[in-house]
Symmetry: C2
Subunit: 146 residues, 2 copies
């Protein structure tokens, strides 16, 4: 269902009944699930796309598990609807493009679902002096009230 | 006034009449002003603290330009009030402590001023697989609607 690596028809995380079915975290590769699990901040399910959109490399929407994601969101049972889709693709050009594509598509097909994106900014322990402009610009633009 | 490096009594950025006087960006060192200027995202003024709070190294609030910052915010002229203080101290232990100290103090002495903090999260171009837990946890907790 989530296209994560699994021994059976469903992965361990999808089998876990204690996990929130209303939250779906979209990642590029199965390997991206592990660092997110390690944070202990996320208690929802996952959806592994198997890559990121990159027309120059010939990776089109059909090559990823995108239609499966949209079907999962749109056809969720009424007693367990999907409330939020967290786009956790990498903060690279292809990852951002994929995130925007998914957000755009879900906005029209499932407007009741909240689509969120991982925060971009300075990593913990970094130094302003050595931060690149784009990251610092995003950190400034995304500043939040304390 | 801002304790940035200057040739005259005021630094070039404070002299610039086109800059927004209602925005003050608090940084640790004069060197931190340069990367923020390079982003072209910020058009306000600065306040250089000259370091970060670190009781273990003997750096107490009196050692930094903190009282000068509070005076600048509280005694701003009525026709040019300070609307927002952007805390751009480094995302390290000492920088975070300094940011919380300033936010806490301003909340009581100047409740009408918005206090914001730079976003913490994944830097642009990073890979989820190699992100540390704390940063990824912050990126998840600080996710925003697209």
């Amino acid at each position: 269902m989530c296209f994560n690596l699994a021994e059976g028809p469903r992965c361990q995380l999808c089998e876990d009944q204690r996990r929130d079915t209303g939250l779906i975290c979209v990642v590029e590769e199965p390997g991206d699930v592990i660092p997110i699990e390690r944070t202990h901040e996320y208690r929802g399910r996952y959806h592994v796309l198997g890559g990121a959109l990159s027309p120059i490399d010939g990776v089109d929407p059909e090559d990823l598990k995108l239609s499966e994601l949209f079907a999962r969101v749109e056809n969720a049972p009424a007693d367990a609807p999907v409330r939020e889709v967290v786009l956790a693709t990498n903060p690279t050009t292809t990852g951002e493009a994929t995130a925007l594509y998914v957000a755009d598509r879900l906005r029209t097909s499932a407007p009741e679902v909240t689509v969120t994106r991982l925060a971009s900014g300075l990593p913990v322990g970094a130094d302003l002096e050595y931060a690149d402009e784009v990251t610092l610009g995003k950190a400034l633009a995304g500043r939040r009230a304390l």
